[in-house]
């Protein structure tokens, strides 16, 4: 996995412009669910593995699209019925972005089984090393701050009736 700052920063760089183009009520709250979706596959699997290494094989299913889909459905059912659809779409949108980014990651052995439980084919393209990507985390944070400044200035310069 790339580190979670990289996952969340990239999801912010995609989701914020989308939310500005498609404004809706409580956009910020649902944005947080999108971020939560981007970290969900790692906190259900990698976090458990770090705390309890012997869970490695048991959590394999939780870092696959099928496992994450089930986790997202369970989480969605906990939300009040009026916001379930938006909650599910944001959680799954974030999780899909997580898997898209992981696909580019290099791994010494096969760890990305996107076809699970139907296939054990390794889905990684083995292009980027997570250890190298983590060094770029200040760059992602810089772009996030820069984007927020641009949005703020753009909002500030608009006529008051458009705010």
């Amino acid at each position: 996995m790339p580190d979670l700052i990289t996952h969340v920063a990239i999801s912010h760089l995609i989701k914020r412009p989308w939310d500005r183009a498609h404004p809706g009520t409580h956009a910020n709250a649902f944005c947080i669910l999108f971020y939560f979706g981007t970290i969900l596959p790692d906190i259900t699997s990698r976090a458990l593995n770090i705390a309890f290494p012997s869970t490695l094989k048991w959590t394999l299913a939780l870092h696959t699209p099928a496992g994450t889909l089930l986790c997202c459905i369970i989480l969605t059912l906990l939300f009040e019925s009026s916001i379930r659809k938006r909650a599910f779409l944001n959680l799954m949108g974030g999780a899909s972005l997580h898997y898209l980014l992981d696909t580019f990651q290099y791994a010494t052995t096969p760890v990305f089984f996107w076809g699970f439980p139907f296939s054990w084919a390794d889905s990684s393209l083995h292009i980027l090393d997570a250890g190298d990507i983590v060094l770029f985390s200040p760059v992602w944070v810089f772009f996030v701050v820069l984007m927020e400044i641009i949005f703020y200035l753009f909002h500030y310069k608009q006529p008051a009736h458009l705010h």
Binding site: I32, P53, A61, L62
Partner: protein
């Protein structure tokens, strides 16, 4: 009530999926190979529990896993660094050693874990500020000011 039945059914499915994944995965752990040395002699061990390079020798290194398990690995030692986490795929031999097929230092892994932990805490704080859990109904609601 129907909601809780659905949650239980999906949790059951998820548990079954985890069990199936654990039983049928193509991964062979070092611990599994060491428990049945004859069965796994010559097989490729492709998952280790946070393996570290304990000591480097001329023809390889001593690998230790979280939990204290250790084993001698034979490989080209170019670029290896003591006390670093390592990504590894190696052939197991029942005599008690491994011959590495791929070895790669896992760069900045500690840094990555701490940064990720900070991110989880940050998202959790944002989540608690935007949503609240109603313990009476077992439902997550948007906060009015979210």
């Amino acid at each position: 009530m129907l909601r809780w039945i659905l949650i239980l059914i999906i949790l059951g499915t998820l548990a079954a999926l985890c069990k199936w994944g654990a039983s049928n995965s193509p991964w062979l752990l070092l611990g599994e190979a060491m428990e049945e040395p004859v069965r796994f002699d010559g097989k490729t061990v492709n998952q280790f529990l946070y393996p570290k390079i304990e000591e480097i020798y001329r023809d390889g290194f001593l690998l230790t896993e979280r939990g204290g398990r250790s084993m001698r690995v034979f490989c080209d030692t170019t670029g290896l660094i003591q006390d670093k986490w390592v990504g590894l795929e190696a052939v197991y031999h029942k005599e008690g050693y491994l011959i590495a097929r791929h070895v790669k230092i896992a760069k900045n892994r500690g840094y990555k874990i701490y940064l990720s932990l900070l991110t989880v805490i940050f998202i959790a704080i944002l989540g608690i500020r935007s949503f609240r859990f109603d313990w009476r109904t077992g439902t997550i609601h948007l906060r009015p000011n979210a």
